[in-house]
Symmetry: C2
Subunit: 285 residues, 2 copies
DNA sequence: TAATTTACGTAATTTTATTACACATCAAAG
DNA sequence: CTTTGATGTGTAATAAAATTACGTAAATTA
């Protein structure tokens, strides 16, 4: 749906290119940002080729012409470069690290938006709708994600609970059965305890939904996996982006469930919302 | 600093624009993507102004000329930020509501990135660094944010805890004193219980940090407020974006604290990270 | 309402991109 | 080795797009 990064496309195509096209490619790749700002003449001179060669190069990569190509290149850079170069430096000040962290979260979300499998989401919504009972499990940072999920899904009038205690998780998994859904959240998908819990749940006939990394042990153990590949490169020491992604995916799922329930369900949500009113100071608006 | 989204810049500048510049602005805002693909002539005609007017418009927004402007616009669009708030329709399917929700989260984050007060962040980091003890308080959805914060800040070797029990919060607030920091998270900032807890804490000489809406009762009661104005319009029935924003701001604060601690502190974080290794299945990479 | 500034458009100019075509290079077949 | 056809590349002409210079209209101020 969203186009792949142009830089990668060009890099991949490089070996199969003509002499002059390859020259152009190399010049562009060596400084893509400069390329977006030069005219066709400048670029042609830099690559020691003629202007029409540059033009042909552009058309080869599905652009209408040179300006269109520059546009596409610029877009690729905007979504790509931030990723690469936006790590927090030890000597950053507030003004630098604040936008960097927020940007990297934004980028991750944009990535997930373009990569997430819609049929899979649908499938999970199905599971959740049909569930007799839903358990949200997570450890560490994913524990609070699970808790948040509980806070969201209890509104659907379903028996929902969240647990971050491994023993509790094991016990619940072993007493569950058909119709029970165990929604397990784990960034790595490699935590032994969690995978074991998934195994126990499966062996008792429960459905296990894994919100976790693709191809991880947990992913393989789950009935349905919502896989999220979050490059946690921004930050070496604490989970950051993955939590956020998990939460947003849970928002998506909750929305999916709400929509499936149809408009008749809205009054119920309204009721919950109103129940909080007396706890609040009146808004001046 | 200069990462400000062009679309927002134009929107903000709109009221102060000349007649024809405003016309151009409106045409661009109504379909920014189309604008990046049109020639200056097309755009001028669409806006019923002359070509030089479009050109002047571009220069006003710090572009070298029309092509440069288009480039910048394209970059703004590509950086993951979709314009206008796209609300979920009752008859949306997975393919529609999934990107809508993610986009609206992205939008909100971009807004916060551009609006958040850096000095204020710095001030809060100061407080947290100097704290003898930190309590994270929240109710409902903010409860899990508080819990997440605990999970993040315990790594700094500080006595940290999180609480979502009102009575517990009251008791802790009343037994605190100078050097204690109460970090209170609340989307609305109008929950009576929470504001009262803040009041109690303040009256005992503790520092209260409010992560909440500007101008809310809680904001007024806090020693320092990190105010976040999140238009929770996307969704009537559940808090969505605000949670995420709170979490990301906590990421920012945690980063601030880490950087202040300096490089000597990294081994400690490394140690915590390594402590989890034995709980994991080995990665095949 | 006259003076002055600011806003806007017309038309000329310049820059930039594309097309048409011719020459060159290379590979395979004679 | 040619010859032939195919593909690749550049030159020059043409078209498109953007910018500039300049003049007139509108708005603002005194």
């Amino acid at each position: 749906m969203h186009s792949q990064n142009l830089i990668n496309v060009i890099t991949d195509a490089l070996p199969g290119l003509n002499k002059s096209e390859a020259k152009v490619a190399r010049v562009i790749l060596s400084d893509p940002d400069a390329a977006t700002q030069s005219s066709i003449a400048t670029l042609a001179k830099k690559a020691s080729v003629s202007e029409p060669s540059v033009n042909r190069f552009c058309k080869r990569f599905d652009a209408a012409g040179f300006p269109d190509f520059k546009l596409k290149l610029a877009k690729s850079l905007a979504s790509g470069i931030r990723f690469v170069n936006r790590n927090v430096d030890p000597d950053d000040d507030v003004g630098s690290y604040t936008p960097k962290i927020i940007d990297s979260t934004i980028n991750t979300l944009a990535l997930v938006r373009d990569k997430i499998s819609h049929p899979r989401v649908n499938q999970v919504v199905d599971c959740l709708i049909q569930a007799k009972r839903i358990y949200f499990f997570g450890l560490g940072a994913s524990g609070s994600v699970a808790r948040d999920a509980e806070n969201k899904f209890f509104r659907f009038n379903l028996p929902v609970s969240s647990h971050d205690d491994v023993l509790m998780q094991r016990m619940l998994a072993s007493t569950g059965g058909t119709g029970d859904v165990f929604f397990i959240i784990s960034h790595t998908g490699r935590t032994k305890e969690v995978v074991e819990v998934a195994e126990i749940a499966r062996s008792n006939g429960s459905t296990v939904i894994g919100l976790t990394a693709a191809d991880s042990p947990l992913a393989h153990m789950s009935s349905v996996t919502l896989d999220v590949d979050v490059p946690e490169n921004t930050d070496e020491y604490m989970p950051m982006a993955s939590r956020i992604v998990h939460l947003v995916i849970l928002d998506v799922l909750a929305t999916g469930v709400t929509l499936r329930r149809g408009p008749d369900f809205l009054p119920h949500l309204e009721k919950i919302k109103n129940s909080l009113k007396p706890t609040r100071y009146r808004s001046e608006s």
